[in-house]
């Protein structure tokens, strides 16, 4: 299970950032640190500003106030967008999608050669999709597509990996594989991973740091400190209970716990 207590080098520091679209402000005075080798999860209801913060981190949206600092200098970034953000009409193969991840680092008039294709194959093997290299991307299942996108995001060896709701719409097995891969990248690859998600079980068991979002404000800290009944109930607006069994955290709706207790009464 993740432990957010260990100090690690800070890769990215978000300080008092406020951001939004036009006159609409969706984030107010948000501060979080993103560290190497750690998984940072952004959690909150729809429209709370998770994606806005991701866009600020990625440089796609300028903050209206505050700043984003890179203490060790700007680093390479990998990005896995929301599953439905990738076009499926393109007749590209899975390998071609992964090769796109190398495009920003390649010279203008150069096409991916055998060395680049070997790098892509290696990235695909890491996520168990190498056998799908020649398959049309649009014909892959949701889980396979997400793992291909993960291969694309990591093929250029980024130091910061950003994932926007990576397990949305995936079945249990696909989610488990994806989350395990993500955790491995942080622990063994030394990457800083930032993931926006609604999956509280994922956060409870695989994240080191969590940022709870509610109406633009954020409560951030180690998972062990932040992910408890009171904070979750407050930030998600519904009774939530966090249980721990054999070192595994389970997040369940509080109403379920109340009903279970009621049923056990004589």
């Amino acid at each position: 299970m993740a432990d957010g207590g260990t100090r690690a080098p800070t890769l990215l520091r978000v300080m008092d950032v406020s951001a939004g679209y036009g006159k609409l402000r969706t984030l107010s005075n948000v501060s979080i640190d993103v560290q190497r080798g750690k998984v940072t999860a952004l959690v909150g209801p729809n429209g709370c500003g998770k994606t806005t913060l991701l866009r600020v981190l990625l440089g796609l949206l300028n903050p209206q106030a505050g700043s984003v600092e890179w203490p060790q200098g700007r680093v390479r970034v990998g990005y896995v967008p929301q599953a439905d953000a990738s076009e499926q009409i393109f007749p590209v193969s899975a390998l071609e999608v992964v090769c796109m991840g190398l495009t920003p680092g390649m010279a203008l008039l150069r096409s991916p050669g055998s060395r680049e294709r070997a790098d892509c194959q290696e990235a695909m093997e890491r996520f168990d999709v190498a056998r799908l290299a020649g398959h049309p991307f649009r014909e892959l299942s949701g889980g396979q597509r997400q793992r291909v996108m993960l291969a694309r995001a990591t093929v250029a060896n980024p130091e910061l990996l950003v994932l926007d709701e990576p397990v949305r719409g995936l079945d249990f097995a696909s989610s488990a594989k994806l989350v395990s891969s993500m955790r491995d990248l942080a622990l063994n690859g030394g990457m800083a991973v930032v993931v926006a998600t609604h999956s509280l079980d994922l956060v409870a068991n695989y994240a080191d740091t969590v940022a709870l979002f509610k109406e633009g404000r954020v409560l951030a800290g180690p998972v062990a400190e932040i992910l408890d009944d009171a904070h979750l109930t407050d930030y998600l607006g519904t009774p939530i209970h966090v249980a721990e069994v054999d070192g595994i955290r389970m997040v369940v709706p509080g109403e379920m716990v109340t009903r279970s207790v009621d049923e056990q009464r004589p």
């Binding site: 953000a85 007749p91 796109m100 096409s111 995001a153 250029a156």
Partner: protein, 424 residues
């Protein structure tokens, strides 16, 4: 330019064949990006904006091609630098299309230019494509296709997933702006030869057909060009054999590539069978006599090219304001003279005679100076009348350039298509 077509049914329309095949092969390479990004309406709106730009150039008496190009590129740059063009949305594109279409018609109605010129902006003038126009289209489209090939990987990533590309440090909006500037340039130039309808058809239909085959990315691009070429060739053949409107025939032929490819995908034999059936159906269409000034020139030219050493065919289009006023005569004459030693009259005059109207007009002076082979001449002039005219007939007369002879030319070597007057 006609040498390579000698002995074929296309010998009389070399400009249409060359221009059509060049545009039909290269425009699909650009259109594929529009189709893949699901912004087909952006393509048709750009085509219409280019048409409006050209029409505006005509009304302002400016060089219409550069002016139309400048208007289109300027608009794309203005909008594209403010927001991602692929996110304009159907409503904005629909509004742009309506306004551009309306402006085209308004500019045309106010234009003092040759009616031929402005009508061609909207409906195309492949039949009348001059060698220099074909060269312009060919060079421009080849340059556009080269840009697409050179920057293929950047355009692919930014088209496939613009947000990820931007997140990884690419100038996604800049690359997309380049793509749509190239598209705007190609449409502005091809517009003068193919018209907005055919340009849009060439842009979209071959890529849609190629995507039906569900093959790899590069093969899909290549196939879209091949299908564009074959569809254009089939459309030209249909237009020539059945005496149909060229641009519409090509559009229908390009569209038919979609079911053929869908059938091929099920089984190649099905695709071939459908293509064969469509070919037989097209070959069974026989020419008709009705039509207007734009429709039958290829037919007349082919008849002329069949062996008569001198032949002149005139097609007319006449319009008159609803409230009465001058009659506007749009004419085109196809002259065939081969071999060069063939005796020809010094000049050709058109004598209109109908409903009490008699008017003579010099069509082509100095016939001696024309090179051997086919030549096409067009023009427009006004005839002052104080009453509504419903129908016009005419004859070709010879004579020097300053006065008409007293005898008409031999009808065995000439023809003038009569026409009804259209009210505007």
């Amino acid at each position: 330019m006609t040498g390579w077509l000698d002995g074929t049914a296309f010998a009389a329309i070399p400009g249409a064949v060359a221009g059509g095949l060049i545009a039909g092969t290269l425009l699909p390479l650009l259109g594929m990006w529009v189709v893949l990004q699901r912004v087909v309406f952006l393509g048709v709106t750009l085509a219409q904006v280019a048409a409006a730009g050209v029409a505006l150039g005509l009304i302002l008496n400016l060089p219409s091609l550069p002016f139309g190009m400048a208007v289109t590129l300027g608009l794309v740059t203005l909008v594209g630098s403010r927001q991602r063009l692929t996110r304009l949305g159907d409503a904005a594109l629909g509004a742009g299309f309506c306004v551009a279409s309306a402006l085209s018609l308004l500019f045309i109605s106010r234009s003092a230019s040759d009616l031929d010129e402005v009508n061609h902006v909207l409906y195309g003038n492949l039949i009348y494509a001059a060698p220099e126009a074909v060269w312009t289209v060919g060079i421009t489209l080849a340059a556009c296709a080269t840009i697409i090939v050179i920057f293929f990987k950047e355009l692919l990533f930014t088209s496939f997933d613009a947000e990820s590309a931007a997140a990884l440090g690419m100038r996604a909006r800049g690359w997309q702006l380049l793509l749509f500037l190239v598209l705007a340039l190609a449409l502005s130039v091809s517009m003068r030869t193919t018209g907005s309808l055919l340009s849009f058809a060439m842009l979209v239909l071959p890529p849609l057909a190629a995507l039906r085959l569900r093959v790899g990315l590069r093969t899909t691009f290549t196939l879209s060009a091949v299908l564009g070429f074959l569809g254009t060739l089939a459309g030209l053949a249909l237009a020539v054999s059945a005496d149909l409107h060229v641009e519409s025939s090509i559009t229908i032929a390009l569209f038919m590539m979609i079911p053929i490819c869908a059938a091929w995908r099920r089984h190649p034999a099905w695709g071939l069978a459908l293509a064969g059936a469509l070919f037989a159906a097209g070959a069974s269409i026989t020419p008709t006599d009705s039509g207007d000034a734009h429709r039958h020139h290829h037919d007349a030219a082919i008849v002329a090219a069949a062996g008569d050493p001198f032949h002149a065919d005139v097609a007319l289009l006449a319009t008159q304001p609803l409230a009465g006023g001058p009659l506007r005569i749009e004419w085109s004459i196809d002259i065939h003279r081969d071999p060069e030693e063939t005796q020809v009259p010094p000049a050709v005059w058109l004598l209109l005679s109908s409903e009490g109207l008699f008017d003579e007009h010099l069509l082509v002076p100095d016939l001696y100076a024309l090179p051997a082979g086919d030549s096409l001449h067009t023009g427009t002039y006004l005839v002052d009348v104080d009453r509504p005219i419903h129908h016009i007939d005419g004859q070709l007369w010879s004579g020097p350039s300053d006065s008409m002879d007293s005898e008409p030319l031999d009808p065995a070597h000439t023809s003038v298509e009569s026409c009804d007057v259209t009210r505007r």
